[in-house]
Symmetry: C2
Subunit: 566 residues, 2 copies
C-alpha cells in the first residue's frame, strides 16, 4: 500500500497488533527490540533491528532505514531521538513523548491547560520530614509516584498516614535514587479510559468511553461502553479530546487517556499513554476501525472516515479480559481458559506469542454481545465461574407481561407464536395498580437485562402498556384484553390513545398472536433469520387460504359449510 517504511520502537504485544494490521495493508515495517519479540514473530522482514529502544546507536540505525517512526512504548532514550539527523518523521513528536514520559511534567502541562487532574507536587527527597510535609499539604492518604518508567502500578505507592511513612522508608529504600512526586488522593468510584486519535491535520477523534477494572494493579477487564450514565461517557470523551488537543504540534497517532470518576461525579485525568493502550484492545472486535489500524492510518496520513471510532453497527457491548500467566502449578487453568473461549461464540482470543510466566500479560479475549448482561454471562463461563455455556441458553429478547392472571388465556397465544419462531422470551404478571413498584422496576431494568421488546396485555382501564412505555426506551406492544363490559373498547382506547411523546404499539382486541408476530418483525431489524422466518410464515398462511379456496371451489358452498363450519 504505502511506499513508506514505518519504524516501530518496541516489539511487545502492542507492536505485534500494529504489525498484524500492517501485514494486511502491505505496509512495510521495521521493529526495534530484542530478537523474536512478539511483534517480530509475525513479520519475517530481514530489516528488523535486534537491539534496545534505550540504546542511542540502535535508535539511530532505525531512523536511518525508515520514513516514519512511532512508539509502542514511551520509555525510550529521548535524548538520542532529539539528535536524530535523518529526515525521518517521528509521530507522536519527541516533544510529546518527553512531556508524557515524566508524569509530573505531564500533570503540570495538563493543569496549565485547564484540564482537571489530581493536585501533584514534586517530592524533593525521600525522607521522613519531606513526606510529613507533603502529607500536611495534600492530606492523607496520598500517592507517591516515580516520575518515569512506571506501569501496571509499579512505581506507585500509597502513603496511608503518618505512621505508614516509616514502613515505606524501610520497605522501599531504593526509591531514594528515583525522581518522585506526590499526588493528592482521588476518591474515585470507577476508572474510565478513552482512546483518542489525532490526525496529521490535528483533528481529534475519540472512541467510546470504557471502564477498566484492575486487580492487583493490573488491568483485569475492560467494559465498553463504561457502565456509567451516557452523560458521563460523553463528558469523559470531551475531556479526553481536550487533553489530546492540548499536546504540542505533531502529536499524531492514538493516545490512551485514563480518567478517575469521582464519588462526587467529577472527572479527573489520571494519565496519558502516547500509543495504543490496553483499554483500547476491545476496538479490534467492536469498532469500525481498531486502535491499531487508526494509529497506522493517522501517522501515514491515510483516510480516517466519518464515524470510524464508532462501535460496529449493532454490536452494543464488549468486555475485554486480559489473559495473565498463571502460577507454575496452575498451567492447566490457562488451557481451560482458552478452550472455554473457543467454545464461546462472540469471544475472540488474541495470544501474543509469549512464554507463560505468573502475572505476565499473555494475551487478551474480546467478548462482544448485544447487552452487557450477555457479555458478562459469557465472561463467567470463560472464567469457569459458571458451568453453564450460556451460548446455548439465550437470554430473553421479549418480555411478556400482563396485569392479571385472568389475561393469561389471551396472552398465552403470544407465547406460542414466540416459541414457533424460536424467540427466547420471559412471561410474568405485573399489575400497574396492584404492584406499581414492581412495574416501575420491571420497566426500568428491562433494557439493562437485554430485553428488546415488551408485550403488555391489560383489560379495563388498561394502564400497564402505557405506564411501562413511559419508563423504558424499548418498544412496547399493547394488547387490549376484552373485559366483561364494553367489549374491550375501553382497553383499546386506554392503550392506543397515548399522549404525544410516549408511544404504545397497539394491536387488535385480544389479539396477542399479532403482538408476538409484531415483536418478531421488530427483532428482524437486527436479526435477518427472523425476517426469513416471517416470510415463510406468511407463505404458509397464504397456502392455507389457497387450499381452503380450492376445497370451496371443488365442493361448493353448501357442502363446505356442512363439512367445515359446523
Amino acid at each position: 500500500m504505502e511506499a513508506r517504511t514505518v519504524g516501530i520502537i518496541g516489539g511487545g504485544q502492542l507492536g505485534r497488533m500494529l504489525i498484524e494490521v500492517a501485514n494486511r495493508l502491505n505496509i512495510d515495517t521495521v521493529i526495534l527490540d530484542a530478537p523474536n519479540s512478539p511483534a517480530k514473530q509475525i513479520s519475517n522482514s530481514i530489516k528488523h533491528i535486534d537491539g534496545s529502544f534505550t540504546n542511542a546507536e540502535d535508535l539511530k540505525k532505525l531512523s536511518e532505514i525508515c520514513d516514519v517512526m512511532t512508539f509502542e512504548i514511551e520509555h525510550v532514550n529521548v535524548e538520542s531521538l532529539k539528535n536524530n539527523t535523518s529526515n525521518t518523521k517521528i509521530y507522536p513528536s519527541i516533544a510529546t513523548i518527553e512531556l508524557i514520559k515524566d508524569k509530573l511534567i505531564q500533570k503540570q502541562h495538563l493543569i496549565q491547560n485547564g484540564i482537571d487532574v489530581a493536585e501533584s507536587i514534586p517530592v524533593a527527597s525521600f525522607d521522613k520530614e519531606t513526606l510529613l510535609e507533603t502529607g500536611s499539604k495534600l492530606g492523607f492518604p496520598f500517592m507517591m509516584k516515580t516520575r518515569t518508567l512506571g506501569y501496571d502500578g509499579r512505581g506507585n505507592f500509597v502513603v496511608k498516614n503518618t505512621e505508614s511513612i516509616d514502613q515505606l522508608l524501610k520497605n522501599d529504600p531504593n526509591l531514594k535514587t528515583q525522581s518522585l512526586y506526590a499526588e493528592k488522593w482521588a476518591p474515585f468510584t470507577k476508572e474510565l479510559a478513552v482512546m483518542v486519535v489525532r490526525s496529521i491535520n490535528n483533528k481529534v477523534y475519540s472512541y467510546p468511553t470504557v471502564e477498566t477494572v484492575h486487580v492487583d494493579n493490573i488491568c483485569h477487564t475492560c467494559y465498553a461502553p463504561a457502565r456509567v450514565d451516557e452523560n458521563v461517557q460523553s463528558k469523559a470523551r470531551l475531556l479526553a479530546e481536550k487533553t489530546i488537543q492540548s499536546l504540542p504540534s505533531e502529536s499524531v497517532g492514538v493516545f490512551g487517556v485514563e480518567l478517575f470518576y469521582l464519588e462526587n461525579g467529577e472527572l479527573l485525568v489520571n494519565e496519558i499513554a502516547p500509543r495504543p493502550h490496553n483499554s483500547g484492545h476491545y476496538t479490534i472486535n467492536a469498532c469500525i476501525v481498531s486502535q491499531f489500524e487508526a494509529h497506522l492510518r493517522a501517522i501515514l496520513g491515510l483516510p480516517l472516515p466519518e464515524g470510524f471510532t464508532s462501535m460496529t453497527t449493532n454490536i452494543t457491548n464488549c468486555i475485554m479480559l486480559n489473559v495473565l500467566g498463571k502460577a507454575t502449578d496452575k498451567k492447566d487453568e490457562e488451557k481451560l481458559l482458552y478452550e472455554n473461549t473457543l467454545n464461546t461464540p462472540g469471544a475472540s482470543l488474541y495470544l501474543y506469542g509469549k512464554e507463560s510466566r505468573p502475572k505476565r500479560k499473555l494475551g487478551h479475549i474480546n467478548i462482544v454481545g448485544n447487552s452487557m448482561q450477555e457479555c458478562e454471562a459469557k465472561l463467567q463461563y470463560i472464567l469457569g465461574q459458571s458451568t453453564e455455556n450460556t451460548t446455548n441458553k439465550k437470554s430473553p429478547e421479549v418480555g411478556i407481561i400482563m396485569g392479571s392472571d385472568s389475561d393469561l388465556p389471551v396472552m398465552s397465544q403470544a407465547c406460542k407464536i414466540l416459541e414457533r419462531f424460536d424467540v427466547p422470551f420471559e412471561v410474568t404478571i405485573v399489575s400497574a395498580h396492584r404492584t406499581p413498584q414492581r412495574m416501575f422496576t420491571y420497566a426500568h431494568d428491562a433494557h439493562q437485562r437485554g430485553i428488546k421488546v415488551i408485550i403488555a396485555g391489560a383489560g379495563g382501564a388498561a394502564h400497564l402498556p402505557g405506564m411501562v412505555a413511559a419508563m423504558t426506551p424499548l418498544p412496547v406492544i399493547g394488547v387490549p384484553v376484552k373485559g366483561s363490559t364494553l367489549d374491550g373498547v375501553d382497553s383499546l382506547y386506554s392503550i392506543v390513545q397515548m399522549p404525544r411523546g410516549i408511544p404504545v404499539a397497539s394491536v387488535a382486541i385480544n389479539n396477542s398472536t399479532n403482538a408476538a408476530i409484531l415483536a418478531v418483525r421488530m427483532l428482524g431489524i437486527s436479526n435477518p433469520k427472523y425476517i426469513a422466518d416471517m416470510k415463510s410464515f406468511m407463505e404458509v398462511q397464504e397456502e392455507e387460504v389457497i387450499q381452503k379456496a380450492a376445497i370451496l371451489e371443488k365442493d361448493g358452498y353448501e357442502e363446505y359449510l356442512h363439512n367445515y363450519k359446523k
Copy 2:
C-alpha cells in the same frame, strides 16, 4: 495454545490467512513453499521449509517436523505423501486429495454417491473424431477440461459446435499431452458456493450459501448470502453438506463446494476444493468463526461451538471483492481502490504481500452492511463507479407513506421527529385504493431496499397500513388520520383490528409523532445510539413538565392560565 506443530503445504494467500489465525492462537506452524511466499512473510519461524509441494524430498522434510499436515493447495505430489512413514496426521486425508485432485474421478465419485453433477465422460484422445463423438454424446456446446491442475478457468475450454473443433485443435495443441474429460453444458443462471467444515468426529457444518460472479474466468465478487430465494440457499447448503459427507474418512477441515444454479431451478455440484476457498473470504468479517480459524480448529480437534458458521449477529450482508493487479500503465487505479476502501466504513482491506502483476490476485476487500443495497452502494464507491461516498449519505431506514396528500399535515410531524433523531427516512404518497399496484410494489420491495420500518398513515376506510403489512415482513406502524366524520374512530378501528397473522402497530388518532418515536425505539433494537438518544429525549420531556410545574406552583393557577393558556 497447541503443543502440536501444524505443517502447511503451500504458502500463498490461503496459507497466509491460516497463519494470521495461527499467530493469534499461538499455534506453531511450518510452511513449505518458496522463500518469502505470502504466508512466510507473516511468520518468522526458523523452521519453514524453502522448497516445493511437488517435491517428494521437501514433503518428507515437512512431515518429519510436524504433527499435523494440511493443504492450502491440492496440486501436490500425492505419491510422496502416500509413502510418508512418519506419524504425522494428514488432514484432509491423502485419499480425499487424490479423489478431488483428478476432476473426472471426483465427478465419478459424486455420481456414485447420488449427488447431482453435470454428466462427465473421459476423452481418450485430443483429435477431431473423438471430439465429434463426444459432442454427439453430450450435445453442443460442451466443456473440455483438464483432469488436473486447473484453476481460475485455466484448463477449461468451451466446444461451441462442430465447426469450432478445428479451431480448438489448432489453438491449443499442447492439450494433446494432458488427461482430458468432457462435461455436458450446464445452463446455469448463477454460480453458488458453500463452505463446509468437517470435524474430526465427521460432523459437517455449512456456512451461508454465497453467489460468485466471475469476470474473465476469475472470481470478481462474492455476494453473501447469495441473491437467490432462501429455499434455494437452504437446498444448496444441504447439497454441499451431503457432498462433503460423501468423502472418505479423515476428510477433516474446510471444503469449498462450487455449485451451478440452473435455469430450471436445479442445483448441480460443479467442483470441490479441499481447503479454504476464495468464496469463503467473506467469513473473516461476516461470520462468528472465519473459514481459516474453522480449518485450524477442525484439524486440531479444537472446539467448534454451536452456530459458529452463522453470520455475526446483525451483519446481514457482505460483498467480497477480489483485488487483481492492474495493467502496468494503470497502477494508479490500485492506489485509488485502496484509498476508497479505507474511506469506506464497513470495508476491510486484506493485501497478500504480493508483487503486482496484471490479473494477479493481490488481495481482497470485505464489505459488510445491513442490506445488499448498502453493500452495493459501498462497492460502487470503492470501484470508482460512483463519486458519492454513500457512507455519509445513509440509505433510508424508515419509509413514511400516506394515502393522500391531505394526510401530510398530520404525517409531517413524524418527519420532524425522525429528523430530530437523525434517522434517514423517505416520504411519499401511496394510495391503497387509487394506486394499488404502486402499493404492492412499495410493500414488496421495501425490505430489499434496506427499509427497516414502515409508517403508514390513512383516514376513513384506512386500508393502507394493513395492506402493506400483508405484503412485507417488516414492522408496519399505522397512524389513523382523523377525517371529516366519525372523529377518526373509523380509521382507528380499520387499522388496529387486523386479523390474526398480520399485525399493524397502531398509535393514537392523528399522532404521527408517536409513530416516529415508536420507529426510533424499534431501530434501537439494532442501534444502541437510538436507545441512548431516546433516553435523553424522555429526560427532556420530563424536565419540561417539571419546569411547568415549578412555574404553576410559583405563579398560582390563575396567573398561569392567564400567561400560558390564552
